[in-house]
């Protein structure tokens, strides 16, 4: 989502973007926050010389190892954000959207965050599921819709947890333990985080933990330009929340307990460190603020303020950034650092269970999922092991999905359908021939009645004859059924053909009419009469064969 303006505004994109409402609104908040952080510290000029390879290799790590530095872009502006978001068309879970008549797409709850979606892309006969960041844990969003993923021909699996060895429950416990430990020792806790997402769960967890850890008097600060909107938005998206939280709305109570924390003044939120915050700031305290990369935003100030004291702690909860890289510019750092990445997305164990449940015919996934992480080559539990093996892909690779489109749905207009005369060829199966005009538009195919030629006015203009549609001849009847050998031989005999030599073949029989030097090949899907220069005999034989077959 955060990269959307780069796609819509810089690539000549002219299409439509589909998104759920929380995705749009919270995405807007996050982008707004980013732009705000960036615009607070405008740069008078931008340096590009360092991007020269010769200079770059002289730079310290990690700059010297950065790749494709020339593709790096400046941050977008609010105007670009608005422009990008104007291209978004809102969709709801399970809503079906037609794309050019060729496929239908439909978002499903992925259980990861408010409005996060997996997508079903299906035609009449094929179904592809696209599984992105999903979670089976009981957190605040609506639970993941698994059943709709069943019967997929292909399931494209992405967005698994970045921290397969870090169990979110354990990390949450670790977060609380370290937080309590620091506060008890008189230190402050800094939590660099995004202003939406896991923070809701963190606050909920702390709501329960505060009393049991005797932290009732410790202030919790949430500082972000969009802090207020984020906290309030989360309370109004009731339909996108898990069942428990939805039911609270009808009590009526706010779905998230952070409302109570705010009411009781345990949680206070501010747009920035300036203004009210500076007058109400009290230590020891817990501060949630961005940006989790520690490169910009209010978090930078707190790093400067608290970094020198070993009684303070910084707790990383966002899995998107390496905490060591994030801390690199602040070294040497006295403050304690705790890494508790909380990534609720599916892990390998959960994926294995999910796939067992939904049973797609084929799974397509990034190559990394098919082998253990390079640093932990013995961890055979950190990879996908499926039968049939998943189809791996790499960045920018183009894949042919492992299925072929064999059928297309064609509609018949009612009046045409009315004219059909079905005949039953097997119990329950009837067949009819149809002569019609196939009309194709927007990937929709319709059979329409053949227009009747208008009666030719006897006296008028011969030149128009050329423009008339060709006269459609009645099609030859279609034959079906099988020719029973014994009965056919008896019939031949009745018609005076006695010298018949029968030869059994793989597909049926060959009847050799020795006297007439004629062959009749009786096969499962065809009958051939090979008869040279004896048209009457061929016609007789044809008629005899036709006696045994049904005509449609």
């Amino acid at each position: 989502m955060m990269a959307l303006p780069y796609i819509t505004e810089h690539t000549g994109f002219t299409g439509t973007v589909y998104a759920t409402e929380p995705t749009l609104q919270i995405g807007r908040l996050l982008m707004e926050e980013l732009v705000n952080f960036m615009e607070r510290v405008p740069k008078s000029q931008s340096a590009t010389c360092w991007k020269n390879k010769e200079i770059q290799r002289l730079l310290p790590c990690p700059l010297k190892d950065a790749v494709e530095v020339w593709t790096w872009k400046r941050s977008y502006s609010m105007q670009e954000v608005n422009s990008a978001l104007s291209k978004v068309q809102l969709v709801g879970y399970s809503q079906k959207v037609e794309l050019f008549g060729a496929v239908q797409i439909s978002p499903l709850s992925s259980g990861y965050s408010l409005g996060s979606s997996n997508w079903i892309i299906q035609s009449h006969h094929e179904k592809v599921s696209y599984v992105s960041g999903s979670s089976l844990l009981t957190t605040h969003p609506q639970p993941m819709d698994q059943s709709s993923l069943k019967n997929s021909d292909v399931l494209i699996l992405t967005g698994l947890t970045q921290m397969p060895t870090a169990n979110p429950d354990g990390m949450l416990g670790e977060f609380c333990n370290n937080l309590a430990m620091t506060i008890r020792a008189g230190g402050n806790v800094l939590v660099p985080c995004y202003s939406s997402g896991v923070i809701y769960d963190l606050l909920e967890c702390l709501y329960q933990f505060i009393d049991s850890a005797n932290l009732g008097t410790t202030p919790f600060y949430f500082i972000s330009p969009v802090a207020n909107s984020s906290l309030e938005f989360s309370q109004i998206f009731a339909e996108w929340l898990c069942h428990n939280k939805q039911s609270k709305v009808y009590l009526p109570e706010p779905p998230f307990p952070h409302a109570e924390l705010i009411q009781t003044n345990k949680l206070k939120h501010y747009p920035s460190i300036h203004g009210d915050f500076s007058s109400e700031f009290r230590q020891p305290c817990v501060v949630f603020t961005g940006h989790p990369s520690l490169r910009f935003g209010d978090v930078v100030h707190f790093m400067e303020l608290w970094g020198k004291s070993s009684i303070n702690t910084i707790i990383f909860t966002e899995p998107d950034f390496s905490y060591l890289d994030a801390l690199a510019p602040y070294q040497p750092l006295a403050m304690k650092c705790v890494y508790c990445p909380i990534d609720t997305r599916l892990n390998f164990h959960q994926v294995a269970k999910l796939l067992k449940e939904v049973q797609p015919l084929h799974v397509v996934c990034p190559e990394q999922y098919t082998q253990p992480p390079p640093s932990q080559s013995h961890r055979s539990d950190l990879m996908l092991e499926l039968q049939p093996p998943p189809v791996p892909y790499r960045r920018c690779s183009v894949l042919n999905l492992p299925f072929r489109r064999r059928y297309e749905r064609v509609y018949i207009l009612p009046e045409l359908a009315n004219s059909l005369v079905p005949s039953e060829i097997k119990p329950g199966i009837s067949v009819a021939t149809v002569s019609a005009v196939l009309h194709s538009k927007d990937n929709k195919h319709t059979l329409q009645s053949v227009p009747k030629p208008p009666p030719v006015p006897p006296s008028k203009k011969r030149k128009r004859v050329m423009e008339e549609p060709p006269v459609v001849q009645a099609p030859k009847p279609l034959l079906s059924g099988a020719v029973p050998l014994e009965a056919f031989l008896a019939t031949l005999q009745k018609h005076g053909i006695t010298e018949v030599k029968v030869e059994e073949t793989v597909d049926g029989h060959i009847l050799h009419l020795q006297a007439d030097d004629t062959l009749i090949q009786l096969e499962e899907d065809g009958t051939h009469i090979v008869c040279d220069n004896n048209e009457p005999l061929r016609t007789t034989l044809r008629d005899l064969v036709l006696r045994f077959l049904q005509k449609l």
Binding site: N177, A213, S377, H378
Partner: protein
């Protein structure tokens, strides 16, 4: 739950309804051999005969049977019939009246067997033709009652009770009961099958010819009875020829049956085979040479067949039988078939069967070196494969099993099961003699530690273990728990101390792992404590490791889960206890954790919102400070603060656990100071003594009865200390009449003070005065009238001790010495409300303002007492000695010593229940509108 008893005089002779005559009741109900005094059972017999189905509950008949069993001395069944002639009539009537309720018939069959266990009674029953009919199953078949399993159970158990003498055996054989008994071995009811199995084993073992004692450590249940019933080998030809024939016939029939039933034709019969195998184990273990040889001759072929068939479900029972047979034979037995069978079982190709067979060899304490060594190798195989530690050397003999085991370990379910069996047995394995072990015990510890690392996902790339198996054990909490238990037990294995650092490292890693669940953390702590106890030298533990442990403990004491916080503070206490125990005196620099840090953490835990954690923290503080109490070290401000915090908890905490812990803390402290030889620092001693008065008053006013009992225990310690120089003083526990009631509260810790050296005279009046001032006497008096029986009992015992020590024989005694006169003048304030009011009532005192006081609520009284107003305003001074004499303590002790349900549980009550239930039933039948009212509590 129970029903309220109303004694109905018309049902029983008058003497049984007299509640006041408890002494007689106790004598009658409490002792055997007084059948003639037991109550009349006629009404009960009548009720059972008439309306067996209206019993108060389904355990009544069981209780009645238990009572009968308790009345009869072995071999004296006739006495019961003599004392209760109606019993014979009752039995006869029920046996002849097949329309009785099946449960009554079952009961009668059991009583019949119980009585007939004595030869004289047996003959009496025979003379009345009761036995023939009672144990004639056809009789019950005809009546359509045999279908009811309780009748079949009654039949079996009746026979089981009766078959205690040769006459009974003869009857059993002549009545041709054995085919039916064998039939019941495959009954549809599991209970019937089990009882029938036991009867079969009983018959074979009980009547077997006597043999020289060689019991293989098996407890013989019926030693006394057997001595006169068993057919001796010399008896066989002469005295008991007929009986020996009976026995031989029984043996032949039973063995034939066993042999036929042992080998299954298909899987559906496995249950039967398993039952027979279960019977064979005690038979082989307890059989004499004659029976054992017969058994082995009979079943060995079948056992071989079963071993070859390789039914997994039969592995364990089959191993039990083979091991029992093998160990019953002498090692130089020429026929080595059992040994070969054992070898076959230890060579099967199914890894799960193989490992269970090996575990059975170890569990049964098998002595054969070759097989034990083989079993050990099998048990270590999964650990060897998974961890890559070469526990088994390079012996190629195991290669085949290694492949099949490795294959099996790839399946998650069987992998966890196999490794758990391996881990459970690993500590036992390390205790084996060195010549049996394929590797030293420390290698096994190293392998278990390595497995623990694998389980937590720490797999080094250099690990030579079986990577395909890792995925099955990584994160498996079952394997982790098993491995932690194994590590804990492995601490006591020989030669494993070198692994201390590795063990500590992995345990600390488990403690700090965010994914460790509460049980795993608890087990890790337990393992750490155990290894700390065992390894006296902790110098090998590096500073970094100590720091890691400190960090993790600091973190876990803040954990979200109260169980983890509880385990952590418990660990801190245990660790302090271990490191400071006298036998493990250590340099403080060796301490794993800094004691200041521990104390701070524990004090913080006193404010924990969970009462269990607070209680554990208090206990841990006690363990941590115990050392300084014993050393008599100077008091620190921190310790004073701790005492204040504890007093605050005692007065304000809403949960009983924490308050109980505080009481135990002071008990331990006082006990420690009083018993230790080194002089306590004066400040410490005065803090303790000044606290005790508050502790006593708060403790006795507590709502929790355990807290109150602990206060009385503290009072007892104060009494012990005060009277340590007094030769007349005897603790309640030393008093001859002091019998501990089964439900009496017993502290899990014994607190005691050192008795003073004799020869030092004590001034009794001063001592008593001090006790009054300390609030000990008030505590005892309030305890005496407490509504909780254990509290009253304890207080009563202590008051009696006090009376015996200080009280003169009588106040009118003319020869009172100056000492006794001074003692008699010591008074105690008895308040006018609360416990004081009750004491005054007992003493027969009436004050002018009593009516007024009646209006005071209990809460108001409590408040006044706490503020010291109540006593000051309206309390009266009463002579302590006078009070001790007038409180009727002996009678009170008598009452309090009986359990609160002694009436409810008496046989008289049982009989009344049965009779009254029938009466109510009849009434209910006649008056359908009336309901039975039962008090449930």
């Amino acid at each position: 739950m129970g029903s309220r008893k109303v004694v109905r005089p018309e049902l029983f002779p008058a003497r049984w309804t007299c509640r006041g005559n408890r002494g007689i009741q106790k004598n009658i109900w409490g002792c055997k051999g007084v059948i003639r005094h037991s109550p009349d059972i006629m009404p009960v017999c009548e009720v059972l005969l008439d309306s067996g189905s209206s019993l108060p509950d389904d355990t009544s008949l069981e209780k009645l049977l238990d009572w009968f069993s308790g009345l009869i001395e072995p071999g004296e069944g006739g006495a019961l019939l003599e004392a209760h002639p109606c019993l014979l009539e009752f039995i006869s009537a029920v046996v002849h009246k097949p329309s009785s309720d099946p449960s009554v018939i079952s009961f009668v069959l059991k009583v019949c067997g119980l009585v007939a266990a004595a030869e004289d009674a047996f003959k009496m029953l025979q003379a009345h033709s009761i036995l023939d009919l009672a144990f004639n199953h056809q009789h019950w078949h005809r009546a359509g009652l045999w279908e009811d399993p309780c009748v079949r159970i009654g039949w079996i158990q009746g026979l089981r009770k009766m078959l205690q003498h040769l006459e009974a055996l003869r009857f059993f054989v002549q009545a041709d009961l054995i085919p039916e008994l064998l039939q019941l071995q495959t009954d549809s009811s599991l209970f019937v099958v089990s009882a029938a199995n036991q009867l079969l084993a009983h018959i074979l073992l009980f009547f077997q010819p006597a043999f020289p004692t060689r019991r293989n450590g098996v407890h013989m249940e019926h030693d006394d009875m057997m001595s006169h019933a068993r057919i001796t080998e010399t008896d066989l030809p002469e005295v008991h020829t007929e009986t020996s024939k009976c026995y031989a016939a029984v043996v032949v029939t039973i063995l034939e049956y066993i042999n036929e039933s042992l080998v299954t034709k298909d899987n559906s019969q496995l249950r039967q085979s398993r039952q027979i195998l279960k019977v064979l184990v005690p038979l082989l273990a307890q059989a004499g040479p004659f029976l054992r040889d017969k058994l082995l001759q009979s079943v060995t072929d079948s056992l071989e067949e079963l071993v070859t068939a390789g039914y997994s479900q039969l592995t364990l029972p089959l191993m039990d039988v083979i091991l029992a047979a093998h160990s019953s034979l002498s090692p130089d037995d020429p026929d080595q078939r059992m040994g070969r069978l054992l070898s076959s079982m230890l060579n099967v190709n199914k890894p799960s069967d193989l490992i269970h067979a090996a575990a059975a060899v170890l569990h049964r304490g098998h002595q054969d070196t070759v097989h034990t060594a083989r079993a050990v190798r099998i048990l270590l195989l999964p650990l060897d494969i998974i961890t890559g530690h070469t526990l088994l050397g390079t012996n190629t003999a195991d290669e085949e099993h290694q492949c099949s085991m490795a294959e099996q370990l790839k399946s998650k379910t069987s992998c966890i099961s196999l490794i758990c069996v391996c881990l459970t047995n690993a500590p036992h394995v390390t205790l084996m003699p060195a010549d049996i072990l394929p590797c030293p015990p420390c290698s096994i510890v190293a392998a278990v530690v390595s497995l623990l690392s694998i389980c937590s996902g720490c797999v080094s790339s250099s690990s030579s273990g079986h990577a395909e198996v890792f995925r099955n054990v990584i994160g498996s909490s079952k394997v982790q728990k098993c491995a932690l238990e194994a590590v804990t037990r492995l601490s006591s294995s020989p030669g494993v101390k070198d692994e201390l650092t590795e063990v500590f490292t992995v345990l600390i890693r488990y403690l700090s792992n965010p994914d460790s669940d509460r049980t795993i953390i608890h087990k890790s702590y337990q393992a750490l404590v155990k290894w700390t106890i065992v390894c006296k030298d902790l110098s090998s533990i590096k500073d970094q490791l100590r720091q890691d442990l400190t960090d993790v403990v600091k973190k876990r004491v803040c954990d979200m889960r109260w169980e983890v916080r509880d385990s952590t503070v418990e660990f801190l206490g245990q660790l302090a206890g271990v490191l400071k125990s006298p036998e493990m005196e250590r340099d403080t620099s060796e301490a794993l954790l800094d004691s200041c840090c521990c104390l701070t953490l524990l004090r913080e835990a006193l404010r924990d919102p969970e009462s269990y954690v607070r209680a554990s923290a208090i206990a841990a503080l006690g363990q941590t400070l115990a050392h300084s109490w014993q050393q008599g070290a100077a008091l620190t401000q921190e310790q004073t603060d701790v005492v204040n915090q504890l007093l605050e908890i005692l007065s304000q905490d809403t949960e009983g656990f924490a308050r109980r812990a505080v009481m135990q803390y002071f008990l331990a402290w006082f006990s420690s100071c009083a018993s230790h030889t080194s002089p306590p620092s004066s400040s410490r001693s005065s803090l303790l003594m000044s606290s005790l008065s508050s502790v006593l008053s708060l403790g006795t006013a507590d709502l929790d009865w355990e807290v109150k009992v602990h206060s009385l225990e503290l009072a007892e310690l104060l009494l012990d200390k005060a009277f340590s120089g007094c030769p007349d003083y005897r603790k309640p526990s030393e008093r001859p009449c002091a019998s501990l009631h089964p439900y009496a509260v017993v502290s899990d810790q014994t607190y005691a003070v050192h008795r003073h050296t004799p020869g030092v005279e004590c001034d009794l009046s001063d001592v008593l005065n001090n006790l009054v001032k300390q609030g000990v006497v008030s505590a005892l008096l309030s305890g005496l009238v407490d509504c909780d029986r254990p509290v009253g009992l304890k207080a009563c015992q202590l008051l009696i001790s006090l009376r015996e020590t200080v009280g003169p024989p009588s106040k009118d005694e003319v020869n009172a010495t100056p000492t006794t006169a001074a003692v008699a003048k010591v008074t105690c304030e008895v308040p006018s409300c609360g416990w004081g009011k009750e004491i005054r009532r007992i003493l027969g005192m009436k004050t002018c303002d009593e009516d007024e006081e009646a209006d005071l609520t209990a809460d108001e009284c409590g408040d006044m007492r706490k503020q010291g107003k109540g006593e000051g305003g309206r309390s009266v001074s009463v002579s302590v000695c006078e009070m001790l004499r007038s409180l009727g303590l002996d009678a009170r002790l008598d009452i309090l010593s009986q359990s609160s349900d002694h009436v409810h549980n008496s046989p008289l009550s049982l009989l009344q229940d049965i009779v009254m239930s029938s009466a109510t039933h009849t009434q209910t039948n006649t008056q359908p509108g009336q309901e039975v009212i039962v008090d449930c509590y």
